[in-house]
């Protein structure tokens, strides 16, 4: 047996009142020490999925109607609130998109990290202080007391995101969910933060669920990628496999929309139309109104996510949900 599954999401359904079907049967598997990229346009259900895993969906209006979230062999949806709480932040931690908003403006960075150590690991104030300094060093904020005693607004955008990451890794979680952690940052900072996440993953033995709308960024960090569209996974494969042999038309079009230095000067492809609203998801394959190869069957019947037999050098499974896999392809 190779690496065990750390997290398995099975057929997860989440609706928002009154009738928005934000997540319509997502299944995912994240193995130990894997960096799993979850890619999709905004509104496709990435954040709802991760919030469900994290247990921070606003319920109501959100509701988990169906499915399992199995973490380390236990379905966390069935746990008592107190047990869920002790997993949050300690075993599964989260890094948010906009650190400026997601850090509390009224507390020093040291306190915002330290309180987790005291709560989850039962450290004393002085132990927590020592460990906080260590963590700040790990994320490249320097192990001195200056940052410890700073308020979020006194830090730059990049430093804030590092502080956010410090908070996430403070209790040595086995899974970190990074929800568009670089989107609010400028390009040079993006690179630095990606490098940092990669380095931390290696040294701390974590798995990462990396959520992004940007396949280009996911390519740099993930080893496995799931593509999500209108609340459903449409393709899942190892990174190389997905980039070399995309099988879903949506994935293919996403790949074509990544800027490529070699094709500089030419017009960038974009996908016509937009992600359907969660309250009016098209029938059949939700992508059919935007799909260049769609036929009648696509609007009538929803294609299941099934393994395909692909090229020789395939490692792991390659799953795709399309009626025309291997039969028809975009020129």
């Amino acid at each position: 047996m190779e690496e065990k599954a750390l997290l398995r999401v099975e057929n997860l359904h989440v609706t928002f009142e009154p009738k928005a079907r934000a997540v319509r049967g997502v299944s995912l598997e994240i193995r130990e020490r894997e960096v799993h990229g979850l890619v999709g346009e905004s509104g496709s259900g990435k954040t709802v999925t991760s919030s469900a895993v994290m247990g921070i969906l606003p319920e109501p209006p959100a509701r988990i109607n169906m499915g399992k979230i199995i973490f380390k062999g236990k379905n966390i949806l069935e746990l008592e609130e107190e047990e869920k709480r002790s997993i949050r932040g300690k075993e599964i931690a989260m890094v948010f998109q906009e650190p400026a908003k997601y850090l509390n403006p009224a507390f020093k960075i040291g306190e915002q990290i330290g309180e987790m150590l005291r709560l989850h690991l039962g450290m004393s104030r002085s132990e927590a202080l020592e460990r906080t300094l260590e963590i700040l060093g790990l994320v490249g904020l320097g192990a001195d007391k200056r940052i410890l005693n700073s308020y979020p607004h006194e830090l730059s955008g990049g430093m804030k995101q590092r502080a956010m990451i410090a908070m996430a890794i403070s209790c040595n979680p086995s899974l970190v969910i990074a929800d568009e952690p670089t989107t609010a940052l400028d390009v040079t900072l993006q690179r630095q933060i990606l490098k940092l996440i990669e380095k931390l993953k290696e040294s701390l033995n974590m798995s990462i669920l990396f959520i992004s709308h940007d396949l280009g960024i996911v390519r740099e960090i993930a080893n496995k990628i799931s593509v999500i569209y209108a609340g459903k996974i449409v393709e899942n494969a190892g990174k190389e496999e997905l980039f070399e042999k995309p099988l879903h038309p949506y994935t293919k079009l996403l790949l074509l929309s990544i800027p490529d230095p070699e094709k500089r000067g030419r017009r960038l492809k974009s996908i016509p139309g937009k992600v359907p609203d969660a309250s009016s998801v098209p029938s059949g394959c939700a992508f059919h109104p935007r799909c260049p190869i769609a036929e009648d069957i696509c609007s009538a019947e929803e294609p299941p996510l099934v393994p395909v037999k692909a090229g020789e050098n395939v490692r792991g499974l390659h799953l795709v949900a399309c009626h025309f896999t291997g039969k028809k392809w975009i020129e």
Binding site: A93, M94, M116
Partner: protein
Amino acid sequence: MKLFIFLVKRFLRLIITIFLVSTIIFFVIRVIPGDPAAVIAGIDATDEDIEAIRAKLGIDKPLALQYTEWLQRVAIFDFGKSMITDQPVTKLIMKRFPVTLTLAFFGILFGVIIAIPLGVISAVKRWSLWDYLGMAMSQLGMAIPSFWLGIILLLIFAVQFHLFPLFGFGGIKYYILPSLSLGFARAAVILRLTRASMVEELSKEYIVTAKAKGLTERMIKYKHALKNALLPVITVTGIQFGYMLGGAIIIEQVFSLPGLGRLFLTGIYQRDFTLIQGGVVFVAIIFSLINFAVDVMYSLLNPKIRIQ
């Protein structure tokens, strides 16, 4: 250095405020009909008598001269002598001020004790029994005039149950009922603000972070949200306290407390120019000082303000 500049700026602002207030009140009371000399002389007095008194009071001099003299005296905090009783205005005010200060202090204390916990609970448990209770209370607090509440409190606790003295002036027990009647209206305002502020903070993104960190509900609400929510509450409470230090004319009347409000009211009846002028400037100074104290407190609690 920043602190020094801050203090100097604040001091200059205080000076300007005092100057403006002194000027405005000086002219305003002289526009109001009524002559202090006539009040002092009584109804039988002849025109000569009144003229003599005017000369003695110095209000026969040209207005410009009176004004410059007044400003000079304000500059050294000498508000002159009462035109009616001939006692120094500063002394009259200082004799009454402790009464008003005590009343304001307990008033705001009652207000805060009722309003902040109830406001926080209302926000945390929205649309619960507590919330309805809080909303009902703040509606009542705003609608009920404090003198009416004062009278009702007297009827119940002084007349019926003899728990508190009916009137008079002495120890703390004389302040409880008037402070309650004053504080109730303050509580109404503070309660609404606390609730609104807390509701807003609970919907902020950092609350999601706090949840994702696995903090307990209690830590999320009473640590992370509350500290942010209290900032505007502190400002408003401070300003309310400042208002109350100007004296509570009606409540002092209802409970026959010898506070600033009654002193100033008597001054106005008797056209005691010096007393009114001095009183208004005094209140302006106190109000400015309270504002300053509130700002300092706010900056201590709000890290974002401190560096500016």
